[in-house]
Amino acid sequence: MRVVIPDETKVRFRYPARAVGIAGAVAMIVSILLPWSYGSDALDDMTFYGAPSPLQLFFVILPVLALLLLAVPLVGKQRLGRWAKALAWNTSAKTASLAALGVVVVALAAIAIELGGLINVEPGGWVALVGAVLAVAATLFLPDSPEPTLDRLKSPRWLQITVIAVLMAVLLFTAAYALSLDDAGDFLVFAAFAVGIVLVLRQVGAFAWLGLAAANNNRVLVLSAFVVAFAFPFTQNGSDANMSIASQVLIFAATALGLNIVVGLVGLLDLGYIAFLGAGAFTAAVLSESAFATIDFHPPFIVTVLIAGTVASLLGLLIGAPTLRVSGDYLAIVTLAFGEIFRITMNNLDGSDGPNLTNGSSGIPGIPDLNLFGFDFGDPHVILGVDIGRFANYYWLMLVVIAMIIVVFMNLNYSRIGRGWVAIREDELAAEAMGVNTFALKLLAFAGGAFLAGVAGAVKAHHDVSVTPEQYVFLESAFLLAAVVLGGMGTVTGVLIGATILKLLPEKLRFFSDYRLLLFGLLMVFMMRFRPEGIIADERRQLEFHAEDEELATDVEEDLITHHAHFNPERKGFEL
């Protein structure tokens, strides 16, 4: 949103604007003490006086932030001292107001839709809306703040680690809470709030500081992220519904990480990647103890996983060897066709044309639960007084698989192989002329990525109970690619986030059923327009998308130097 107001006007009106803004924020804060909705069915029952609902309590964080950002500077520049420049006070007050307005609009729209008409919006809702509009209008009249310098302030190590830990805990409870929202309206209001908070934190300068803290405490960050992910099932009280979604997210994320090697590191566009997941799943299915399995050989799962990965990577070699000599658009078309060939072949291996391997379109149902070292993944059990169901078991297994995939990804990335991959992406001819075996490296990426997808597929077969060809349609490949692009090509965190968003949203937005794809289309269009490098940007990738931006190049370089992101073999990658 860009409203151009002349600087003189801003300076002239800065005191009244601040006062109006504060009034707007206060109005929003007061509004949660009033009912927003007439009926209790809309959202999470916002019908009480003086007793805000959970969503209202979340919402109020935004106006409180806006109020603080507007009111604290009133104490004067002298007393603020170095904090005056550390935070982008005015600009982030504007962002907070805009975010609050966004949440209010979504909430009122949800109330109107769910109860049938705006007549159902009670005074509290209107007060919030008026307050938000006032705050937004007023903050537009405040002078813009300079770039925040929070990241330049010295902060002790313990503070950084504490903030990371607290953030992770917040993340855990946010995820648990978001998943518990069954109503699409609730979920959208909460999503609007979450996006708003993230934007405010970014604007205020907290992300720059966090980035530095994360880089300084890399191990703490990775460890705490895994602790949080591990703890997630304990927040679900044995509810299988959410754990099923969570384990699907992890399977999807594992596959996307494999694709990330091919697309993100080497820069090869693969539009048929789902075939490798399918190859792994079908392999595990025909080798499983299912009554419908077509091969009378049932090795333990450890062996099955290796066979599944190998079959997938052999397929990768099969498709890669003849086609990796072409590049760019041609490769995209070939892989697209390969994905379709795979699906149709699986459909046709039904015994009437050729051998019966997959039972055709009915696939292989009744795949029993995994059994690893005598532990049956289908058995629910109780840990620390919390019920742990079947899906939680698969969730933990996938967590281990993903951890291994990340180790593989990072260690390859920061090695001779990874440098060769990036060189191919940057300038294939120059890489070849410097002695890089470009064909072999591309093939390795293809086969390696396929192996990881095959492993994920083997777990997926048992997780889903049945495997059919129609689970592996082109749309799934497109979604995988979208997860990689949306999250940030070449990054681990970005792809994990992208995969989570792309798998979670469809589950939570069943309300929109047929319009889900439309929403994704819009989301992708907006991302590509405003942030083509994805949510988390790989430093190098970011430069490729903003080739003309010299300032950015200098920034990235500073980051590279301060974060020691150059190839210092002692610091990068994971030790096993």
């Binding site: 001779r416 440098r419 120059a430 470009t438 190049a553 370089e557």
Partner: protein, 290 residues
Amino acid sequence: MSQVASAGHHVDTGTVLLEASHVTMRFGGLTAVNDVSLVVHPGEIFGLIGPNGAGKTTFFNCLTGLYKPTSGEVRFAGELLPPQPRLVVRAGMARTFQNIRLFHNMTALENVMVGMYTRTKTNAIDAVFRLPRHRREEVESTERARELLAFVGLTASADMLSRNLPYGDQRRLEIARALATEPKLLLLDEPTAGMNPQETRQAEDLIFRIRDLGLAVLVIEHDMRFIFNLCDRVCCLVRGEVLVQGSGDVVQNDPRVIEAYIGSPAEELPSTKPATPEPGTEDGEGPADA
């Protein structure tokens, strides 16, 4: 790099490092390189000059495996060169490009480390499990890359993205990257294009120091002063053919070379022009472009 010896250089004319015999490269009806033969000895700086469109870069591409010559053969240290760039690099020839082709979004250090690809052995398994070989090689190649950067004078820029380096530094980084492949013969395609006189002098000095390491250098250049200062022997290509080959003095004073670059007086044109190949072999040659 400690072994930079200042001792007077020694060209071993008895042995042949690179031998191109009767190399011809045709693109359809266009003969870009016609029957070019030349020999480079170890420790020698060999210059390749010629007006624009004379086929110098095409000839370079034939040597380094980017093109497969239509006829003729190239032998390196007695072995027939395989027509694949990476195998040529492994055999011991490395090149730079006329229009700089660095990996722009990698740091200077990473660029040089990519050059070490053929000389390192870490495979995917070593890297994934961080086996000792990987760690050892990683430490060694980082060290070696820093040495090479120091050798070309880029110590301070090791962690800078190569796209942010000044133009002259990018040229030097390309040389460092080529040196990282541990070549016996370095091919430089217009290493001073776009440089000011001071940078050109530095480049000259750098090439001498490379020669003093025991490498042979084959250099394409337009700058006559640069080439005759630098080279032991020079070959002048015109319209894809060898016009004259020999020591700097011989080439410098050959009237045909001067004519090829500056053009001849109009009235002499028909008589002094050497046997011309078919006129279609040039792609827009400017008469005085040196």
